[in-house]
């Protein structure tokens, strides 16, 4: 069970949150080549180690968060709001 310290609500259990996937992906631009769009859609680093990811505080403040979590130990290094500046 993860204990996620939401910057808005404080420490909350993982089942209040929804997982939003890899947070290192950058939205393709309109004139990007179709293969780059395909890579953005489908390819993932999927590291065994530290992973930056989005979580949604579904049953709390309903804000999107960006979390750095270890995929083996599940240790959480940082939690911050997923603002545009923070993408």
């Amino acid at each position: 069970m993860l204990l996620i310290s939401c910057p808005f609500c404080g420490p909350r259990p993982e089942d209040e949150f929804g997982f939003g996937g890899d947070a290192t992906l950058i939205n393709p631009k309109e004139d990007d080549n179709i293969q780059d769009v395909a890579d953005y859609m489908f390819l993932r680093d999927n590291p065994k180690g530290w992973h930056k990811e989005y979580w949604f505080h579904r049953y709390g403040c309903r804000r999107w968060l960006k979390i750095e979590r270890h995929t083996v130990t599940h240790e959480i290094k940082s939690v911050s709001p997923a603002t545009e500046q923070n993408l």
């Binding site: 259990p13 997982f19 996937g21 890899d22 995929t71």
Partner: protein, 419 residues
């Protein structure tokens, strides 16, 4: 040594002193024709079919831990071929047909029991959708049937037939040739048969790097030394991203946890495997009498092989909704495996952009049933340097061409893929 009634009788008289090891423990050689990375069901099956169809080919299986110690020993043992899309249907049916003769072929009792897999319907629309799917199976020459509520009551009397249930049961569909098998025995049987054909099985041998020269593989570096080889097959579902990264590849895969659990053993009362999409849960009873329960993936990237409590609670609540009489039972064990979740929910068996490097992975939550079929197809792919028609659509390029194989149609969201 061939296993038979006579060999058991002979050894009984001989105080069981004559049994030999099931597979040999050879030293790692400096050169092989084909190196298979990963000694689970898929890697061992691939090695077996490589050796069977190509006598004289020098094949090694390199396993980081011990044989069958990964996902082959962690699954819920269901074998079925009830897929909707033609490519999936043909492939899994081929695998099921291999299963039907595998105990005899490997001379190893896999305890394969074709007790049927029942999928519950909870509404008129559920019944329509699943009947459509199971009619598609018939068009692909795969056995399938629908069951009315009354027929289901005779077959599985202990389900919750209360019309006030949150998900009332309106009927079911069934694949009668589907069933369950002894999971460890599959790894051991393939290991023994492959070893008998001259395959070198090297345990405790971790691959630390893959050597590539001019975009062609030349060998692997391992914890037991360097090996030169002509071809490499990766069979490490759960860790495919990590091993492919050694060769510089990035894959359409996320690694997620899938849990399973067993209750304490009780007298036999459940003679088929029963699944419900609405309850996110499926159950079978093992030969020891335990209720073996599985559900969906935990839902966020993890290599930990350690499940979390909220998912156990969800799966157990589904199991109790399905079979209210399970309420008083205690769970004996829970465990988790790590799944290669692909972006369309279908596997990858095929070539890579690097010459003579092949991948069998991306099995999502359903790799166990595919063991013989995948091994068979992957062996063909490696030898011919070209996919067999049965696995041609499981190529890696589909994530660039857009020709996806999605049974669910849920988009590139691995944490929502489950079938």
């Amino acid at each position: 040594m061939r296993y038979s009634f006579l060999s058991i009788a002979r050894e009984a008289l001989n105080s069981h002193k004559g049994w030999t090891e099931a597979w040999k423990k050879p030293q790692l050689q400096p050169h092989y024709d084909v190196v298979i990375i990963g000694g689970g069901g898929h890697g061992l099956a691939t090695a077996y079919y490589l050796a069977k169809f190509n006598r004289g080919l020098r094949v090694a299986v390199l396993e980081r831990g011990w044989i069958g110690g990964g996902n082959t020993g962690r699954n819920t043992t269901v074998v079925r071929s009830n897929y909707f899309l033609k490519a999936n249907a043909d492939f899994y049916e081929h695998s099921l047909k291999l299963w039907e003769n595998l105990t005899q072929e490997l001379n190893f009792n896999l305890m394969f029991s074709q007790r049927g897999v029942v999928q519950l319907c909870h509404s008129f629309h559920d019944m329509e959708a699943l009947t459509n799917r199971y009619n598609a199976l018939r068009l692909n020459n795969i056995d399938s049937d629908t069951l009315t509520r009354e027929q289901l009551k005779v077959m599985v009397p202990d389900l919750n037939y209360d019309s006030d249930a949150r998900f009332p049961i309106t009927g079911a569909v069934i694949q009668r040739r589907a069933g369950v098998a002894r999971h460890d025995a599959v790894a051991w049987g393939f290991a023994r048969a492959a070893s008998g054909l001259g395959v070198n099985i090297i345990e405790n041998c971790e691959v630390t790097d893959i050597d590539v020269d001019m975009n062609v593989v030349t060998g692997v570096r391992t914890s037991k030394g360097n090996v030169r080889c002509d071809k490499i097959g990766i069979c490490v579902a759960g860790h495919t991203s990590e091993v492919a990264r050694l060769a510089g590849l990035k894959l359409p895969i996320e690694t997620h946890l899938l849990q399973a659990m067993v209750t304490e053993p009780v007298k036999p009362f459940l003679h088929t495997a029963v699944a419900s999409s609405a309850l996110h849960c499926y159950i079978s009873q093992t030969d020891k009498g335990e209720l073996l329960i599985g559900g969906g993936i935990d839902g966020y990237n993890s290599y930990s092989q350690r499940g979390t409590w909220p998912k156990i609670e969800e799966v157990v609540s589904g199991a109790i909704s399905m079979f209210p009489r399970l309420r008083g039972l205690r769970l004996m064990r829970t465990w988790a495996g790590v799944m290669d979740m692909t972006m369309d929910g279908s596997p990858i068996i095929g070539k890579t952009p690097i010459k003579h490097l092949y991948i069998d992975g991306g099995w999502c939550i359903g790799g166990f049933k595919a063991i013989p079929g995948a091994g068979w197809c992957f062996a063909h792919t490696i030898v011919d340097d070209e996919p067999h028609p049965l696995n041609a659509e499981f190529n890696l390029e589909r994530f660039r061409t857009g020709r996806l194989l999605s049974e669910q149609g849920s988009g590139n969201t691995p944490h929502r893929q489950a079938h």
